[in-house]
């Protein structure tokens, strides 16, 4: 229909333009031209009328066709259901989604920065990822590469870039196939299943700073290069038992290679974890876990550290009342025994945090954490060289040590941290936090943080 319209238009234009040129060349024959123009005008009016008529006709026909289509569509549903019955063919992907089909791994980059103010010139900082000084700090830049390897494995890599250097935070393969006893293997370098916070990446933590106990006992995180077997125990609730064996090549104050017995399998690092999850109701879930890690601590031949942990995580999310409101409670307790040539050390620490999400994009919470090491010991280079008994007072007076580099803290330290978080979207986040730190051998400290976080790339999944 439309092309008729176009032809008519073209004809009209042609006549009009030729009339114009005629007018130009025979300017003196004004009356004739006027007449002609009049005629043309009439002609065009007629044409216009005709066009409108045709348009209307066209519209009516289109309408008819559409109605027919609607009828057809209804029939199609019933017809095609027959086809589907016979041999359902998955829909062909569009060109664009085909272009998007690459075998590259999912790539993500997460940047965590924090503006910080400390009340001290030389602040007490416990974890490597904590903001180091007054000013603006790069806490961590995490690069993630994740993909399925083949029908049997997936591989997840997380590289952590910091101002001081690069760390392979995790790089491990996970088995995807069925095995006896519901076993799953993880092989490579990974955050060990010890408690809860050790498995949570910095960007997913609820607070700007890491609990002192995790910083001191686990050395930021316990991520040995290792082999781990996870068993799903067939009980009425969810129970997973994990056993990990690996090199004690971790940068922790608690474990280090025993140089004198480096080939003794008994002095490698072993981590065991038992996780339980109880779905109390649709709204309430409770995780209860117990952990045990043992390995040489490098203070002397056949000297061993044992680390025990208990963890609790409860999440209350009343979905029927509100889509986003939730309350989370997370707490962990760790107890450490370390044999040294001089004496046997025992110390403990715990933290408890509550987070209340009161709107889709807002949450607030408070954390209390305490670590008590009765026998402070200083070590050089992360505590694996010589673990020596030292007098607490000495340590404190000279401040020869950075608390982050000791096996034990100088005595008892507790910290209270309230925070408020705003996430404009799932991919960005601001967090305001105040930390009050109290230590019995060293000074108190106030700190205020404003943390910024950005995530780009693949949409990560959230664990429970």
């Amino acid at each position: 229909m439309n092309f008729i319209k176009m032809i008519l238009m073209a004809a009209a234009l042609f006549t009009a333009s030729s009339a114009y040129f005629q007018n130009d060349s025979f300017g003196q024959e004004g009356d004739d031209v006027k007449k002609e123009i009049q005629e043309l005008k009439q002609m065009m009016e007629k044409m216009q009328q005709r066009i409108t008529e045709l348009e209307e006709k066209n519209r009516a026909l289109e309408q008819q066709a559409k109605e027919k289509e609607v009828v057809k569509e209804n029939v199609v549903v019933t017809e095609e259901t027959e086809v589907i019955q016979a041999a359902p063919q998955p829909r062909q992907e569009s060109f664009l989604s085909k272009v998007a089909q690459t075998l590259n791994p999912d790539i993500s980059v997460i940047g965590i920065f924090a503006a910080a103010w400390y009340s001290r010139n030389d602040p007490f900082v416990f974890a490597e990822d904590d903001p180091q000084n007054t000013g603006v700090n790069l806490q961590e830049l995490e690069l993630g590469f994740q993909s399925i390897v083949d029908p049997y494995f997936r591989f997840d890599t997380f590289i952590s870039l910091k101002t001081e250097g690069v760390e392979v935070e995790e790089a491990y393969g996970t088995s995807l196939f069925s095995m006896p006893l519901n076993t799953q293997f993880r092989m490579g370098r990974m955050r060990a299943k010890f408690g809860r916070i050790n498995q949570i990446h910095t960007h997913a933590q609820n607070f700007v700073t890491l609990p002192i106990v995790a910083a001191e006992f686990l050395g930021q995180h316990l991520n040995p290069t290792s082999i781990e077997a996870d068993f799903l125990i067939p009980v009425p609730w969810y129970m997973e038992l994990s056993a990990l064996g690996g090199s004690p090549d971790v940068e922790t104050p608690t474990f280090a290679t025993d140089e004198a017995n480096a080939n003794n399998l008994a002095y490698l690092l072993y981590v065991f974890h038992l996780a339980n999850f109880f779905e109390v109701s649709d709204s309430l879930g409770i995780n209860l876990g117990a952990s045990f890690a043992t390995g040489s601590n490098g203070t002397g031949p056949k000297e061993r550290s044992n680390l025990y942990g208990a963890d609790l995580y409860a999440k209350y999310r009343p979905l029927r009342q509100s889509a986003y409101t939730e309350f989370r409670l997370q707490s962990e307790f760790m107890w450490r025994q370390a044999d040294t040539p001089e004496e046997n050390l025992e110390d403990y620490g715990f933290y408890a945090e509550g987070v209340y999400r009161f709107a889709k994009r807002w949450n607030t919470g408070v954390r209390f954490d305490l670590t008590d090491t009765n026998t402070p010991v200083a070590g050089e280079d992360g505590g694996d060289e010589e673990l020596l008994s030292a007098d607490s007072a000495d340590l404190v007076s000279t401040r020869a040590i950075n608390p982050g580099e000791t096996l034990g803290l100088p005595g008892r330290a507790y910290r209270i941290s309230p925070m408020l978080t705003f996430s404009p979207s799932e991919f960005s986040q601001f967090r305001l936090e105040y930390d009050y730190l109290n230590q019995n051998y060293a000074g108190n400290q106030h700190a205020i943080f404003l943390q910024f976080q950005y995530a780009i790339g693949a949409h990560g999944a959230h664990s429970y």
Partner: protein
């Protein structure tokens, strides 16, 4: 060495392994174990599978399917699943993948496994597939297109067809049973669709405002025109300036209906409706989204019923006020 030797740890460990062996020798039920990510898929699978299957749905009907908690109990369900049915188009990207990884179940871990059914591959057309470059400045958009296709009942038939075919492959012994159930399901739904079409026919072309871009398929089927959203961008909560603008737009266009899934915040929606002289309607958008919705057809009975009665009242009111003005 002194205390807590490796031997002791090992003993504990072995004990657990023995317990595992003891427990794992228990029931191997003959029924096909189906896990569905969404209750709608679960409900359809239940109608097709009848008493030959056990169906478990992960997300709840009264819950936003984008944000489901990846509860560890779901791992135990997936561990025993013969068939996992999921919505696809990245709707479950934030929570399903780690559950599948944790399942240790070869039947479902491969993307092309027999026991893994991406229901979206069976629908004839995905709406809103981006044709231009996209990024997240546009909000939380789905690169593969709008994933809420189950809100068009016609798609339910296609999905049921896919599920039937898969069940026949997994459990060929009962193939004719599934086939029969499918015919029943499709016939019933087709007939229902005709009824609903009739009920909705007078309201074709109605302009509506919705909370999130999750009613596109419903509108496409019912012939509604979505002229605005309470969210300024997908996944971004409403801002005052956006709401003010929306109200202005609605007034000028004389929009009469604001619809939101009942799991979205209701306050802004009803405020917008109040201010613009429209009706606010909170509808269940999934099986189990409201008490009494147990099947896929129930869902549309409620949706169509709610919408038509709201529009009936609204247009009735308008007529009433018009006649008043005329008199």
């Amino acid at each position: 060495m002194k205390r807590y030797t490796l031997l002791q740890c090992f003993t504990v460990f072995i004990t657990f392994v023995l317990i595992s062996i003891f427990f794992s020798s228990e029931d191997v039920s003959a029924k096909v174990q189906i896990v569905a990510s969404l209750p709608d898929l679960g409900a359809i699978a239940q109608e097709i599978g009848g008493d030959k299957v056990d169906v478990m749905s992960l997300a709840k009907g009264y819950q936003d399917p984008h944000f489901v908690d990846a509860k560890p109990t779901y791992v135990t369900k997936l561990n025993k699943a013969d068939l996992l049915i999921y919505n696809g188009l990245d709707l479950e990207i934030g929570w399903l993948p780690p559950l599948i990884t944790g399942s240790r179940n070869s039947k479902i871990t491969s993307t092309d496994a027999l026991g893994r059914l991406d229901a979206s591959t069976y629908i004839p057309q995905v709406l809103e597939v981006p044709t231009t470059q996209i990024d997240r400045s546009m909000g939380d958009i789905h690169p593969k297109g709008n994933p809420h296709y189950l809100l068009d009942p016609r798609n339910g038939i296609y999905v049921a067809g896919g599920i039937t075919a898969r069940l026949k492959e997994i459990d060929p012994e009962n193939a004719s049973y599934y086939e029969e159930n499918y015919k029943k399901f499709a016939d019933h739904l087709n007939q229902k669709i005709k009824e609903w079409d009739g009920e909705l026919a007078p309201y074709k072309g109605t302009e509506i405002v919705s909370y999130h871009k999750n009613l596109e398929y419903l509108s496409d089927w019912a012939g509604f025109k979505e002229v605005g959203f309470i969210e300024p961008k997908p996944g971004i909560p409403p801002t005052p300036s956006h709401v003010a603008e929306l109200i202005k737009k609605m007034k000028s266009m004389d929009v009469k209906l604001v619809i939101a899934s009942n799991y979205y915040p209701q306050k802004t929606g009803s405020l917008v409706a109040d201010q613009s002289g429209a009706v606010f309607l909170s509808i269940p958008t999934s099986v189990g989204g409201q008490d009494g919705i147990n099947t896929y057809a129930d869902l549309f009975d409620v949706i169509v019923g709610d919408i038509t009665s709201a529009l009936k009242n609204e247009t009735g009111e308008t007529n009433h006020s018009a006649s008043k003005a005329g008199g």
